[in-house]
Symmetry: D3
Subunit: 340 residues, 6 copies
């Protein structure tokens, strides 16, 4: 089989550290032919360091010079839509960084175009690939959880407002803790509940700490420029009486430095994601089950592999365009109803 030809759009850290190394580990299936970034000098440098032939600062030039099968879209949130649409129009499969887009309408369009073009559009929700989440899904599929009816989904940092990048700039990011952190854990929770649009959404957002300033644990942010939510709490009710309580924060006066977890409540068993445990009955007695030997995995490599597998028609667990559109619609609704 001939190699798939890949192009990278967005020349930042996440391309350099995550996506390019993952693709290079799959060199028997894919070859990176070009990278396109805002700053042509830095882009050229990155291309040289990784042995990538093409370096561009204009995506159309790239498509005209190189034959590209798939694109990795690592641009800022506010560019996800434009470049993904362009790549799909150029007949490429796309693995786009999260969140899918800035609006629900954009994410809908992206999914529709991918369908129309018969191409794979996937989002890089790589936390689906942890051993813990795969085991959680396996337990659900094997029926050990019974019916899952309520999930607490948390991505909470005590003082983790990033002191770099554009994370506190609403125009570029589209929001704060919810769109940057919350989407990860919301994606996992939705994956346990058939990934549907909720009947009802309630919630609240806050910016007390972000706008006041204080000790930072991920560098110091500028409270004057802070215009996103530092914390978001939302409650989602789904058809069939299921529910998710979502909590996410950049900054919250809690004990823990960071909590990233799902607590899943099913009719036969409950599960905690990190560290993974089941809480159920065995032989008629209440039992707690631990898994002491779960392996830490290279989640980016596994997600990139899933993307490649999806292109070649295999069944995978990757987040595809339709799910991305659902997720974006939920995020948009939370911002509408709970936003600052």
């Amino acid at each position: 089989m001939s190699l798939l030809k890949a192009a990278i759009i967005g020349g930042g850290h996440i391309a350099d550290q995550n996506h390019i190394p993952a693709l290079k580990k799959l060199s028997d299936q894919v070859k990176i032919v070009a990278v396109c970034g805002r700053d042509i000098d830095k882009t050229r440098l990155m291309a040289d360091q990784h042995g990538i032939p093409g370096a561009f600062d204009d995506i159309e030039n790239m498509f005209s010079e190189f034959d590209v099968d798939l694109v990795i879209n690592c641009t800022p949130n506010n560019l996800h839509y434009d470049y993904t649409m362009q790549a799909l129009k150029n007949g490429c499969h796309v693995l786009c960084e999260k969140p899918p887009a800035m609006t629900a309408a954009q994410a809908r369009e992206m999914a529709d175009l991918a369908k129309e073009k018969g191409k794979i559009l996937a989002y890089n929700f790589q936390r689906r690939q942890t051993s813990e989440y795969l085991l959680l899904k396996k337990c659900q599929i094997e029926g050990q959880l019974g019916e899952v009816y309520h999930i607490k989904a948390n991505y909470l940092r005590r003082r983790g407002i990033p002191g770099w990048g554009n994370f506190t700039n609403k125009t570029i990011q589209g929001g704060g803790a919810l769109i940057d952190l919350g989407v990860h854990i919301l994606d996992l929770a939705l994956g346990m509940m058939d990934y549907k649009i909720p009947d009802k959404i309630a919630g609240n957002m806050y910016d007390f700490i972000g706008k006041t300033g204080g000790k930072g644990l991920k560098g110091q942010w500028d409270p004057v420029k802070f215009d996103v939510e530092d914390a978001c709490f939302a409650y989602l009710t789904f058809p069939g009486n299921k529910s998710i309580a979502l909590s996410c924060s950049f900054a919250l006066n809690q004990k823990e430095e960071e909590i990233i977890n799902l607590e899943v409540f099913g009719s036969k068993a409950g599960a905690v994601l990190n560290p993974f445990s089941l809480h159920t009955e065995v032989a008629g007695e209440l039992a707690d089950i631990k898994f002491p030997f779960l392996e830490e995995t290279d989640v980016q490599l596994k997600n990139t592999t899933a993307f490649i597998d999806a292109i070649s028609g295999k069944e995978t667990n990757i987040c595809l365009g339709e799910e991305g559109a659902v997720l974006q619609e939920i995020v948009e609704k939370i911002y509408l109803r709970a936003g600052l």
Copy 2:
């Protein structure tokens, strides 16, 4: 000062173990003159054991024979309204067991009548009297928490469906985990947020485990007769962008045998109720504050004392009729919107 004359209505365990002993410790201020119960033989026995002169199975007989200043209402939930109204009409102060009533309208009427009669109507939310909650309130009043904007309120049992009494009978109890357990922690949470009616309420209720059966940790219940919620999750948004996430259960597949806690998030500090801790900044650094010597207190004695103090016109922290009416309205709305 002459002694206050007290009567007990309801001759069950909670009268015998909690209220009568508390009143007897306050014998310099109050004297129990009568007890009224459904079964006259058992009531007489209890009266004799505690040295109480009168024993009745009819409340009007009691009022006609004895001059009563205050009444402790320890009847089942569905009788709270009737006996409290009767006691107020007879010119008594009333300390009524929780929950206030079966409906919001009842609780409203009770509060209004107490006001009209100029009597103290109080509810026995005795968890307000723990050292931890008193310290939490003190920290809030001293300004150490800043503005409190979100609270997670949990009263969660793994398998704590009571195997005795009427706890799984909706007609008598008015509900399950919410009205029996949730009200305690909701009362504490409301007390941190000015005790208002929420703008919006969302929530869900479940009965999977209750209706299926399984290993019990508080005796074995009968799943066939189980007709209340075994778990309730609710989300309350208050005027001024404040919020409470409430979770309560008789049965839930979680790790812990029982969780009774508040997590309070304020702009200057967060607090956890049990064990009590503050999470804040001290001298510009993130700090956790623990209080290793908090005393366990006799919360019933302290609440009964607060009731007596309220009668004599002192400022106390007891839950009065107005707050009871607010609480009951919230409970009713949760049942309406989230109920099974």
Copy 3:
């Protein structure tokens, strides 16, 4: 149904503290009519304290005066045979303290006579009644362990040579750590492996510490009079390639004050008895299962109940005469091959 009439033989601590209280809790099924002990004054005193009509120092007098349905034999080891045989001959069911007898031949005779008489002969191996062992057996029967092929059975004390009684006197006890402690754990292990005679037995016995003396944790013993084994290690191979490694000690230079445990190795799962845990695979991953809420039970009450149930023809898990004969034969063989 009329009450069973019980007699106690042996007026010592174990009658007073264990057997009589258990029988009294079963007063709807059994009534203690007489007690027979060596010292008539002490026996009379015990009878009076417990409200037992008859007190004797001669068993035949007792049988001639009272109509007895069942006998509890709480005499020293070297009298188990005589009194059990006499009781069976008098047409009584017998619950005999462990060990069954001093020799395999005695235990065989006892089982045969019980069979001939159509009476229940049972031994008081009450550790069969712990929640942990009952759960272990349930897991085995439900197939969760797969085939059980090896067991490590330990009853090991660091310095637990009793400073009272006859525990270090071979003539009265028949041996030391094996016959006093080891039989308990051996009984449990055999119960997991069809209770058969082993093909091969190896082992060793020691008396270094017992004969030297040293710090005692159960009072001080007299090393000069010490003539039993202080430690015994044995290895049993059973038909069908199964095996038990047995270790027991009164005194051993180990870290733990006392170890009483089974480690059970099966083809599907392993189990540890105390605290109970399973070690297996769940959903394809290695898993450890804990049971945080197992209850401590009144093992003597449960074993006495099982004895009564056996008399009335019910299936129980009590150790009956045949199993006692097997156990005694194994003990005898270990003493023959491994003894000092």
Copy 4:
């Protein structure tokens, strides 16, 4: 003094990672002149990487071209005998990997030939060189243990069947858990008991997990090709009433990932090897002694040093030919009596 000339036989991982680095650290005493392996290309590569002049795939060619004083035999188990004999015949000292051989007769011949030739034949039981074992022996020699009478020797893995190499192939390895893992801990135990042939040997072997398959912790093995024991339990009685209980496994449903330990019971003190502790009496009270600062040592370097020292006539603690013959005889007897 002129340098000793060393040759390596067997070009695998253990030569590359253990023996060659150890010899190079002793470059003031020894110089590696040649390496001989099955695959001449790989052997040449290894020789070049380590700066070793000679590379061969035929041992006789090696001996004819190079003058060799000592040989390190790192071949698979089934070649230990042939190459060690050849090396001895060529007048070399030999450090042979464990186990000594495939049969007791081979090990006996090897020891006899070494004696006849006046050469050092040693086996690479490098666990003798840990700080813990050296301290254990020192305590024994100083008399702190008193008489050592019983040892529990364990080398138990939960799921450690190697997924590589020939570890599950009986023809090449000679067996499974016993000959690969058990010999290490048996060597240590025998070293505490004068290294004698036992009077009696009992034991059992199993292959349930190995033949069924399951989750592996050292890669996945092929249950179809598995033809060795996955677990072995043996009980050895020695002259003078001493005993060893040996347990070893590739796979066993236990809690721990791996247990490698000795529990040593002496008349004055007991000792646990890992972490090292003594359990004894001090000043008339029961005492536990811990050694918080024992150093982790380079056991291969220390064992190779002991081999060189033995060649130059020094007293060392290395396992010599005679001990190897005893160990192999015991292993053979366990396989005969307990084998599958």
Copy 5:
């Protein structure tokens, strides 16, 4: 042997709870004949409760009415001298509560008079009788500590100013933390160093917390009436280059609620008293020795027994008059040099 006749002087808590129960347990050797207290009614009541024939509020009346062999002096500190002298003059042996007296001169007189009269004068430093201190002394005598050259002696409470009694009244007590708490641990430290007068004494005393007030852990004290030291730090240098660093406090802003400990540094080993451990070398390696089974003992009973034994001429470890005089001299010097 006829029984010793004992009288109790001082009718407070320590007589009632400690000394009288201890004497009653020694009823085969001693009989309490009288008790003398300030308040004759309370004294009579105590005498009746304990079955003591005589009750007095005048010591001379007591001596005139009863023949007394020994006296227990449980009066407040400022009365130790007077009553002990009177008792000695009346030919009694005396066990006096600590501290010996208010001044060094008094303690010297008391010791001299006891000597002159040939009577036992002992002080109730009952912490000498703990298993830990007895073991510490045994280790010293057996030579395991080598030469003891430095001791850190601590009796430190975080907020343990007693809210009752006269503990904060200098006129009655003679001082604060040093004379009430420090003397206990100083006595133990001196007992490890030949109980000599130091060459040099340095130290400081403080009363910041005592005079300011704050949260109390032993009731609330009155800061206005507080006129003793709340903390004392002293450094003692003894002939032969030995030293003790003494720290004691009623109140100190430390983490621990209470620290009562000795750290003893010897040339061969160091020891910590609570929990007892040795830190030394065993078999050439640094070793920590713990004693997991030390028993909690009835220290008052053991000290009273020692007093009785001393009377009958046996060698004991009780604090006698001469040691008391040394201790009091040191205490006085610390107050002179370091006092407030």
Copy 6:
């Protein structure tokens, strides 16, 4: 601004590993122009490795060839005075390693000359720069400690006599544990108490372990050549009734491998340095405050930066000449009064 020109005196480990790397990180402010060491070859090599132009074995040659603004004095203790004086005379600022000198008179002269020359003389007490000590000082300045009245200052090693260098040679070092380790923690303690000369000094020194030998944890030292104190305990009383208890050791039979800590007792709060905690009252309750996120800092870099800042006239927390003179006077007095 032009770069400061730095010279290094003393070509050992501390120059190579600490001072040169720190200066190179400040290359925008300072440039190393020369290094001067005893062994010209080694000095030349170090200079080349670090790209330093000049290498000398004579300081005057260095000053004559290079224009030097500041000098880092990393020579042995007995050369601190000579080279610092020479550097000051040559018009350089000096950062001198600790301790300041061998005698109080030297340190006084050094401080005076620096003052006279208008140059910065600083000592490298870099532990002042830890996050913990900076926070401790901040808490003191903010008033959270109240008045600090007693400090326990400990730098205690169990067996940390250095097995290399001159640490056990009094002629070169000027002493042992006190001058090498104790000065660090004494400097920190004095910094909490206005850095004054004490009114009174008591203390003792010991050399039992150092002169006897034993297991070393920092290599093996030679007990025959050991002529310094292995432990020093001192007690300092300051004007205004403040006190410091100082304990330091190279070797002491304690449990911990190493203790480096301050315990600070203030009227409002106490503090422990490592890990940092406060012990105080919050909201009227006793509270412990922990700081879970304090960062480990590059203390050498921070101290070198403080030195450079001091040169450019900024306020810093570095130890200057006057403080060094006070410290040296205290050290000298301790040696005079407590020395061996």
